[in-house]
């Protein structure tokens, strides 16, 4: 499955798939609205999951807890899709 774009090698895609699975759990635990979390893919807009500028901070916090890495909040608030968060995580060594 192509999660975050066409430029991934098969090995990258496998890593992204694992990150996506963990990220789905984080998003679900931080969410107020209910969604079909299994249907969340790289192209899914974050806004469509009901997160706003406040509740995305919980996602940032929980992502750091889950993956053990610190992300720059300025970069996180610029992300528009789930795939962009995954890319950010990968850039930071997840």
């Amino acid at each position: 499955m192509n999660l975050i774009g066409d430029s991934l090698s098969p090995m990258d895609a496998e890593g992204a798939s694992e990150i996506l699975a963990r990220l789905r759990d984080v998003l679900r635990d931080s969410a107020v609205e209910e969604h079909d979390w299994d249907a969340v893919v790289g192209e899914t807009p974050i806004e469509s999951l009901g997160f706003d500028s406040l509740t995305i901070l919980d996602v940032l916090y929980d992502v750091e807890e889950e993956f053990g890495i610190a992300l720059d909040p300025k970069q996180v608030v610029k992300t528009r899709t789930v795939g962009e968060i995954i890319a950010l995580l990968e850039q930071n060594g997840a």
């Binding site: 679900r28 969410a31 107020v32 609205e33 209910e34 406040l54 509740t55 901070l57 919980d58 940032l60 916090y61 929980d62």
Partner: protein
């Protein structure tokens, strides 16, 4: 100022140990079926007491799913799902979101607020210090999380706030809502209250206060006005009511399920936990005066009736002092014998019981009233349901801190 307006009740929603909608609640009351049991959601092995009135476990998850929400906090979630019932009953919403904005105020009562979120946060803070506090902790634990959550979810654009006065909270909230509609500050108010506190911290503090019944038989533990009572039993739950001006309700063809006829309130100004018959009587007299209802017009008193030794004697004294000889004609109902003391939600849930009693002309039996306490000199509904002879019911609520709130409720159309 314009003429005061009559206040109609056009929507009801309820969840507690004996029912998760108005009809199941009504059925349990009329069948004399209580809901006190060993607690399933909380490990009480280190506590003196381990019983309570829990809401059926599938109700909140199913209700939230229908409203497309994730769980946030037990009290908030109970408030949201029962608010949906009341708003649907009133014909103000239909089905799942999205909803259109409408000018409805949200005035709710809660004794302990977002208890589950507070306990979770305290545990995380104890384990990990400041690092354990998630960014959204402030909106999760604030005491108005319930009214804010309801207002946002259903897009209700009137005022939204909570009234906090321990076990009087939702009655004070309903009194405030009544006055808003009666005096023209709002046409429609969603009011009532919610509390959910079966967690180690909040149940623990009540356990250590020593006022809960230690009766080993859960079904017989809550015994308001009985000589063998030995304390209250806690229950979780929520009750929601839509109040609106009688004219507006009629104009839009709403079903008027009852009327809020009057309201009174007072403070004991004496002791933080011990009740005062004088203070309670002031609130009852104010409510009757506000309603223009004489004691002899009352068909029943829906008591605060906690089943603690102190409350029931004190409340009997205050009822007797206010009603005089008419107390013989107004039997006392004590609904906590069914679902326990739901703290800040109790006034709302019991007002719904009172309104249903008016609607059907019957008062539910008082459970576990086997030997009425001779110190409680009031006429009590006995072990069988009985007819309501006159359609006005006085609803009492009294809280720690000395807050007293009393509603007078009457029939609809």
């Amino acid at each position: 100022m314009a003429e005061p307006r009559r206040v109609a009740v056009t929507g009801l929603g309820v969840a507690c140990a004996i029912g998760t909608d108005v009809e199941s609640f009504r059925t349990s009351l009329l069948a004399g079926r209580g809901g006190i049991a060993e607690l399933r959601s909380l490990d009480t092995s280190e506590m003196k007491v381990g019983i309570g009135g829990e809401v059926e476990p599938d109700f909140v998850p199913a209700g939230l799913k229908r409203l497309r929400r994730r769980p946030t906090d037990r009290a908030v979630d109970l408030g949201i799902v029962t608010a949906a019932q009341a708003l649907e009953d009133a014909g103000l919403i239909d089905g799942a979101p999205p909803y259109e904005p409408q000018p409805v105020a949200v005035i709710l009562g809660t004794a302990v607020g977002a208890a589950e979120s507070n306990t979770t946060l305290q545990q995380r803070f104890a384990e990990r210090g400041v690092r354990g506090l998630r960014p959204t902790s402030v909106p999760r634990v604030m005491d108005n999380a319930i009214s804010g959550g309801v207002s946002i979810h259903f897009r209700l654009t009137g005022a939204n706030y909570v009234v906090i006065s321990a076990c009087t909270s939702s009655t004070n909230a309903m009194g405030t809502a009544y006055r808003m509609v009666h005096h023209g500050y709002a046409d429609t108010v969603l009011t009532g209250g919610a509390d959910g506190f079966f967690d180690p911290f909040y149940y623990g503090v009540w356990n250590n206060l020593g006022v809960m019944s230690k009766n080993p038989d859960p079904a017989r533990a809550c015994r308001p006005f009985d000589a063998g009572r030995d304390g209250c039993v806690l229950g979780e739950g929520a009750g929601m009511l839509v109040f609106e001006s009688w004219e507006r309700a009629r104009a839009r063809g709403a079903r008027i399920r009852g009327e809020v006829v009057g309201y009174g309130e007072s403070s004991d100004a004496s002791h933080i936990t011990s009740p005062s018959a004088e203070g309670q009587a002031v609130a009852m007299r104010a409510a009757l005066a506000s309603a223009g209802v004489e004691p002899s017009d009352l068909g029943a008193v829906n008591a605060h009736g906690t089943a603690t030794l102190a409350n029931d004697v004190c409340e009997s004294e205050s009822i007797r002092a206010v009603l005089g000889a008419a107390a013989e004609r107004a039997p006392v109902s004590a609904n906590k014998s069914y679902f326990g003391h739901t703290l800040g939600a109790s006034g709302a849930i019991e007002s719904i019981a009172a309104l249903l009693g008016i609607e059907q002309g019957r008062l539910p039996a008082n459970l576990n009233l086997e030997n009425p306490d001779p110190e409680c000199q009031v006429r009590l509904v006995g072990g069988d349901a009985e007819a309501l002879e006159r359609p006005f019911v006085m609803k009492n609520s009294f809280g720690f801190g000395g807050s007293n709130g009393v509603l007078v409720l009457g029939p609809g159309e």
